[in-house]
Amino acid sequence: MIVLDGSHSGVPHRRSPACRSCREPARGRLPAKVWLLQPGWYPSEVDSHLTLRVDGEEWSLTVDTRTTLLDALRDRLSITSPKKGCDHGQCGSCTVLIDGRRRLSCLTFAVAHDEAEITTAEGLATGESELHPVQQAFLDHDGFQCGYCTPGQICSAVGMLAEAEAGHPSVVTPTGNGSGESGRPAVLDDDEIRERMSGNLCRCGAYVNIVTAIRAVARR
């Protein structure tokens, strides 16, 4: 059996190129250490150990505190579905789900997410053939051209649909129409989808089909 999660969590396996920790020793399990603030005491190392759970796999890693979550995922864990578009919060291509909510991985440091549950577009599918409904809809409705913004669009759409389901309003939700006020799911017409997805820019301009894809999932 080949263990792919790199956690070496008691399952013996031979050194294997298929195993991420074997390929890069820094990914092996290290004791996680989080600085907790004590009166009169300051941490004095810029390297921090932390545990990240990404797409169902647990990683222990040591990072320079300056590492953003995006760089930790891409450069340290080789999880490259979150993309670096602008690195300043303006494009949405680095969108991941942190503890179930959509966030930008470029504007947050990895050390702030010790023990967090992170889902990238890669982790949404349950297997090669079992795509997430939003992923399948992007394929069915041609919701991309070059595909660079797509993993961010898909994570954002998944987070957005959950927000709508929980009754969160948007700025175009008519006030007083009751949607959300009683926890009722928000009704997603095209204006709502466009507004709620406005944090994700697409340089190819695939917007029309992105809206179509998301509408198809929202109507289910």
Binding site: V34, W35, P43, V46, D64, T95, T108, S156, P169, V171
Partner: protein
Amino acid sequence: MIPFDYSRATDARTAVATVMARPDAAFLAGGTNLVDHMKLGLASPELLVDVTRLPLDRIEELPDGGMRIGATVRNSDLAAHPLLRRRYPVLSQALLAGASGQLRNAATTAGNLLQRTRCGYFQDVTTPCNKREPGSGCAAVGGWNRHHAVLGASEHCLAVHPSDMAVAMSALDAVVIAMGAEGERRIPVREFHRLPGDTPERDTVLEHGELITAVELPPSPPGARSAYRKVRDRASFAFALISVAAVLETDGDRVRDARIAFGGVAHKPWRATRAEEALRGAAATEDAFRQAADAELGAAQLLPDNAFKVPMTRNTLAAVLRELATEERR
């Protein structure tokens, strides 16, 4: 980016003592402004004290009918709160008009209040800027100033405050609760942000190391209606050119009271007290709304690229008041 230490605060007092003791320390909340500034070289703290796991994430109803919003409540959670949406629609709308879904899931109440200007020169370390580097000059004077202030600016700084949320809070007479070495103090939002004068490097009256713990909203007067409207270069995910937050109370077709704040026009959310004065007791008509706007905007000082902000603010105020005056009482 210079190296820094990261620590996670578990109690507010220790967090305050730690940051007060070190001039190079800063609180970290959602990080959506501070991390950006660290990347751009505008901020270089050597110790970050993460406040997001402090127990300051509650939204509570106060006994007097007001509300208390914890400092680390995420902007999206606040905007979606049923009671807030019912009692203070202006605040929910302002929050939802800001940034994007992803950013609002990270941004906090305190971080939003303390976000810094989006003046392009401030964000570009190669240009002079008195806010970033006191005494270096202001590149916006004689430069590109379409987004800059028309009210309350000084020759030292023409920047505007970018927050939507703070504009609504100003119109609501919200109060910031800040914890310092000697305990907590209460600062009305209207007095929290500063005008630039000759010290534009100071955005607010908060002292280094003071921790915002909450924002309190006074009870909404019975029958008051409120709304926020933002005008921007594109329909969504852009900062305001100008914005209007208004709370209106009417008696039949007369204005009993109005509380109005403008965004995008000054170094702070601009409470339009002259317009409020002009409206009190006046007939709730389009003419009266426009006259009220003029009473406030008469003092505007225009720059070559931003004269459009005056008619835009006047039209937007009139539109918001018209809408509120005709809205069915709910």
